[in-house]
């Protein structure tokens, strides 16, 4: 079979399938989502045989499900982004003590920058905290090999294992030889075997802690001599050492090649150095690190997010009384946050290898945001799509609140973009599910304020329900706006419990958000189509005016799930040029050109919301004129 161009996340899916993985579960989050999607695609194409794959309601549910499957002997793969690890950590901490049977690998994607995340947290720290081994790939190819090795290590030592790529690796593509078919490993005969070890009593935890310590020492020694911790040397007795982990190793390798090119061109000898790539940061490969440190006077460490390797080398120096100095994030010799890069590594290495203690005058990375010229092109911020139903929901709620004091608590999803002008309908965003509970805090602190939360349908199931229970139990006067667009839109349209669609094929009965709210005791529940501004505003007003917990469910599909309706048109003779449509809705299909409002027919999705925003009825929408509801052909889950 010819090599295929695969995104690393797709390749990692193949690696797990080749390792015979039985069960794959996770929750979507950039940059991790493609792995589960690839397994699902290969399963439905008949390539990946015998595997079960699912989007679980959240990360904790996914990891706990896998803990059970692993105890039956199944090989298991968990996926999430770095913040998902926070949600799953409750399960991980204990699971490491209980141990596993079938290999259990956690694929956790970190996001230096951050490019699309709330934090720059470092999963290598989680590995250390939970006492679980972690692999840190520098390239897609290395990650592919690590994924297979992770299953072996997991099973050999009975420990969960983390594979932690970062965005640049996750979303890089290269060519891979992949099998035409994969088969899940059969569950061992007899399946689950009862044992005291599966129950985490304090006495057992004490015993297990000892076992964890022992296996970490053994894994450190084994990996120390393994293929993922590589050392290279130029010159016979270099005194300068370079350490890198993750994608920074790839940057350093490129930069070193450039420096050698420079030296060659100038007719000078190549710089002398020793380079260590650390692919298994925890447990730290101390043996390899000691070999590396032999005779060195200076070490510089390149890594993203936290100073994990830097800490290890400082510790090593203390423990073994080694005379080298360590440079990195802690002394400002490398970037203390954000992404590294080739240019940055080049400038810093040039200074380091020339024994020049001065910092490079200006890191190319630090000045990357400055304009090369006086005039900067206008920003192109991400915006809610033309035809996005959230726009109508924000418009309705803002109008229903009117001039009353209010706070709008947002959540994680596309609708965070509602914070931008002209909608300005999101005031806070913390973490998954927090909008509902934060609104309750505002309500307690400031009873005269209208406290509104916005939550997406997928987020509602992932971590919104307990917050609603709290509001009902403690009788907080809040209004929960569920933006039900029938998908997990921001991460690329994944199904969730409210859609009834699963990754295994057969459709289940969708869980009704209205029935869940009703069952939890919410007494005022209204539903509205957000694409009809008046109807939506009336519904919003009813819920917002209700004393006590109330809910509005805004129902209209994500535009990515539906075909466009005929575009709206502007009657130029009727348009008074007030631009109210543009300045209240901010739809990207609208343009103001030569004193006339226009709607770009190629961008307009025909949702018809702008018809209601026009004070002089100058905008017409064909679907409305035909007396039809936009996107009515869409039924939940019937994509």
């Amino acid at each position: 079979m010819p090599a295929k161009l695969l995104m690393a996340n797709e390749a990692f899916a193949y690696a797990a399938l080749e390792a015979g993985v039985n069960v794959v579960a996770g929750y979507p989050g950039t940059p991790s989502s493609e792995l589960v999607e690839t397994v699902a695609k290969l399963h439905s194409a008949g390539v990946a045989q015998g595997v079960h794959v699912e989007w679980s309601t959240n990360e904790k549910a996914a990891l706990e499900l896998l803990a059970g499957a692993s105890m039956s002997g199944a090989r298991c793969l968990f996926t999430c982004k770095q913040m998902g690890m926070n949600v799953a950590s409750d399960a991980l901490m204990s699971l490491n003590y209980v141990g596993i049977r079938g290999g259990l690998v956690l694929f956790v994607a970190d996001d230096p920058g951050p490019i699309s995340s709330q934090t720059e947290q470092d999963t290598r720290r989680y590995a250390n905290f939970a006492k679980v081994p972690v692999f840190d790939p520098s390239t897609p190819d290395e990650g592919y090999a690590m994924m297979k090795e992770a299953f072996e290590v997991s099973e050999k030592y009975g420990t969960p294992v983390i594979v932690r790529p970062t965005t640049r690796v996750n979303h890089a593509s290269t060519f891979f030889d992949v099998p035409a078919e994969t088969h899940a490993r059969p569950i061992p005969e007899g399946g689950f075997q009862r044992s005291d070890k599966w129950i985490i009593f304090p006495r057992r935890a004490y015993q297990a802690h000892g076992e964890i310590n022992e296996r970490l020492a053994a894994i450190a020694e084994e990996q120390s001599g393994g293929a993922f911790n590589q050392m290279e040397q130029r010159g016979s007795a270099p005194v300068r050492g370079i350490v890198a982990g993750g994608v920074s190793s790839a940057y350093v390798r490129d930069a070193l090649a450039m420096l050698e090119g420079e030296a060659q061109h100038a007719g000078k000898p190549s710089p002398e150095y020793r380079f260590l790539h650390v692919g298994t940061p925890f447990p730290f490969p101390e043996g390899k690190a000691l070999q590396f440190a032999e005779g060195l006077q200076e070490i510089i460490v390149f890594e993203e997010l936290d100073h994990v390797l830097e800490d290890e080398f400082l510790k090593l120096a203390g423990k073994h009384h080694l005379p080298y100095a360590v440079h990195g994030k802690l002394d400002g010799r490398t970037l203390d946050r954000g992404e590294n890069g080739i240019d940055d590594a080049l400038a810093r290495l040039r200074a380091f290898l020339a024994a020049d203690d001065a910092r490079p005058e200006e890191s190319p990375m630090e000045s990357a945001n400055e304009a090369p010229e006086a005039i900067q092109p206008p920003m192109r911020p991400p915006v809610l799509c033309a035809g996005c139903p959230h726009r109508g929901a924000f418009y309705a709620v803002k109008r229903a609140v009117g001039k009353r004091p209010a706070v709008f608590c947002g959540d994680i999803g596309c609708y965070t973009l509602g914070n931008a002008k002209p909608l300005e309908a999101i005031d806070t965003c913390l973490c998954m599910g927090a909008g509902i509970t934060m609104a309750q805090g505002f309500a307690v602190a400031e009873p005269d304020r209208k406290c509104i939360s916005f939550v997406g349908d997928s987020t509602f199931f992932a971590s919104g329900i307990t917050g609603v229970a709290n509001a009902v139990y403690n009788q907080h006067d809040i209004t929960v706006c569920v933006l039900d667009n029938a998908t997990t839109a921001m991460t690329g349209s994944q199904p969730h419990p409210g859609t009834g669609q699963t990754l295994m094929g057969p459709k289940t009965k969708p869980i009704s958000i209205a029935e869940v709210l009703h069952a939890l005791g919410v007494e005022c529940i209204v539903r509205a189509n957000p694409l009809y501004a008046e109807e939506a505003m009336e519904a919003a007003r009813e819920a917002i005016d209700f004393p006590g917990p109330s809910a509005i469910i805004f129902e209209s599909p994500c535009m990515q799930l539906v075909r466009p309706e005929a575009p709206a048109t502007v009657d130029e003779s009727a348009c008074i040029g007030c631009r109210k449509c543009l300045t209240t809705l901010g739809c990207p299909a609208m343009t103001w050109r030569d004193g006339v409002m226009r709607i770009d027919a190629t961008l307009c999705y025909g949702c018809g919301l702008c018809v209601d925003a026009c004070p002089v009825q100058a905008i017409a929408s064909p679907v409305r004129e035909a007396g039809q509801v936009p996107f009515a052909a869409f039924r939940k889950g019937a994509k």
Binding site: A3, L5, T30, P31, I115, S116, T139, P140, T167, R168, V169, H171, A172, S173, T174, F175, V247, A250, Y251, R253, D254, A255, A257, M258, L259, G261, E262, G341, I342, D343, D344, L346, P364, A368, P372, E373, I375, P377, P378, M379, R380, P381, P382, V383, C385, L417, A420, K421, P422, M490, G492, R579, L582, T583, G586, P588, M590, T591, W592, T602
Partner: protein, 201 residues
């Protein structure tokens, strides 16, 4: 920045979400590997997928370690929109080649009157010896505005060392069967647009 590259060629494709930069990058990667090179391709997306600035990096060569394009290191900067071209100029290498689709897509802050479009765009691009391509016109002539990305790929191909046949082969394998002829036509219009531009100057 080092003037001595690591031996790999870096192509940066920049545009607006939905313009088809990823398909063009995919075709470039596949053509390069069919010519025996190593390839790494990197796309960054997140937040809303439509309407924002998007860039894709393709690095090709005998040996390719990393997958990013730093400032001053794009050997080829292929821009699908003029404002994005201005935004990405700092990434162009000193002797890098700049190819720009001669269209402007206004971002929302401009539409709502909070910002204005840059002035003297052609003049500023001209300072970097940009080759302008009217990809939308060529795409319409080939049959659909949707193949503007393949027109731009043609403009890039005219500057790269791979045979026309190897590009065509990858296009045939990638696009829907009904659109093969149209896309091949669009590709050659792109190749020729650059050739005729070069004759003029």
């Amino acid at each position: 920045m080092s003037v001595y590259s690591d031996g790999a060629t870096t192509v940066l494709l920049a545009g607006v979400g939905g313009q088809g930069t990823i398909l063009a990058a995919d075709l470039l990667a596949k053509t390069a590997i069919s010519n025996g090179l190593q390839v790494k391709l990197s796309e960054i997306h997140g937040m809303a997928q439509r309407g924002g600035s998007v860039t894709t990096v393709v690095r090709l060569g005998e040996q390719v370690h990393s997958m990013v394009c730093d400032r001053g290191s794009a050997d080829y900067l292929l821009c699908f929109e003029a404002t994005e071209a201005l935004r990405n100029l700092p990434f162009l290498a000193q002797n890098g080649k700049l190819l720009v689709n001669d269209v402007s897509i206004k971002p929302l802050p401009v539409l709502t009157g909070k910002a204005s479009m840059p002035k003297r765009v052609h003049e500023r691009l001209g300072e970097y010896n940009a080759q302008l391509v009217d990809a939308n016109k060529h795409a319409r002539e080939a049959g659909s505005l949707k193949c503007a990305n393949v027109v731009l790929l043609g403009a890039l191909a005219a500057n790269m060392p791979f045979s026309m046949e190897s590009w065509e082969e990858q296009i045939r394998l990638k696009v829907p069967p009904k659109t093969i002829d149209m896309n091949i036509d669009a590709f050659h219009r792109g190749v020729q647009s650059v050739a005729s531009e070069a004759n003029r100057s």
